[in-house]
Symmetry: C2
Subunit: 138 residues, 2 copies
């Protein structure tokens, strides 16, 4: 067992980047919304995340600066190539986690909820194992 003062290894990862998680959640949401509607608006995201449209507005502004999405004043939101790639990656990871939870016997609703929280914290190695155990190997 690690000594109490043994800092780095585990916690380098636990020092999570909340801003990155938000970015992932948002591009994933935008991609999901655009798969069902012609346009993604601030209001759609506000409803989805149950926050005010003002909060969404500011986050969208930040993500645009980071090159993940594009929008103009009073116009709908679109993903950049970079945003689409990130969204795709997140969606796949999200699905693997969700299907893994289903595979070990978690009910649909709980799996959906837990996958949302867990997805950002699964390393590539663990993700591969999840995929195997979920029977998603191609």
């Amino acid at each position: 067992m690690a000594k109490a003062t043994n800092i780095s290894e585990p916690h380098r990862r636990t020092r999570r980047d909340h801003a990155s998680e938000t970015a992932e959640d948002y591009v994933e949401a935008v991609a999901d919304i655009l798969a069902w509607r012609p346009k993604c608006r601030v209001t759609d995201l506000a409803k989805r995340f149950a926050v005010s449209h003002v909060t969404v507005n500011r986050i969208v502004e930040r993500l645009q600066k980071e090159g993940l999405l594009v929008t103009r004043p009073y116009q709908p939101i679109e993903l950049t190539h970079k945003g689409k790639r990130l969204a795709s990656k997140c969606r796949e990871r999200h699905e693997i986690v969700r299907c893994f939870l289903l595979a070990i016997g978690i009910d649909e609703e709980t799996a959906a909820i837990d996958a949302e929280g867990i997805e950002h914290h699964v390393s590539p190695r663990t993700l591969r194992r999840f995929r195997e155990l979920a029977g998603m190997d191609s």
Copy 2:
């Protein structure tokens, strides 16, 4: 309190409370440190989380207001009864997640890292299943 947006079940959980996670991480760390040393100091926590002592100081101040721990100026940190209970709960949950990851074939180091991130996002139901599959049933 609840802004009745009645949004998708999954996101009620994904709207995570970062402050609560920090509280859990800190009481868990304090308990762990006190299991190895006679006293827990601001510096110990700063090293563990790889943040400045100033950041730790402010968080400790907040947690004291919340009744999770106690400290006086220039004195070491101790957990309240409430803090000990929370720490115990978190440690158990943490161990279940870690052992579960080991049980499905994840290596020790990866399991330790991923458990740190995942622990805050596992529902009671999923946690029970993890414990079963880890062979930790009493």
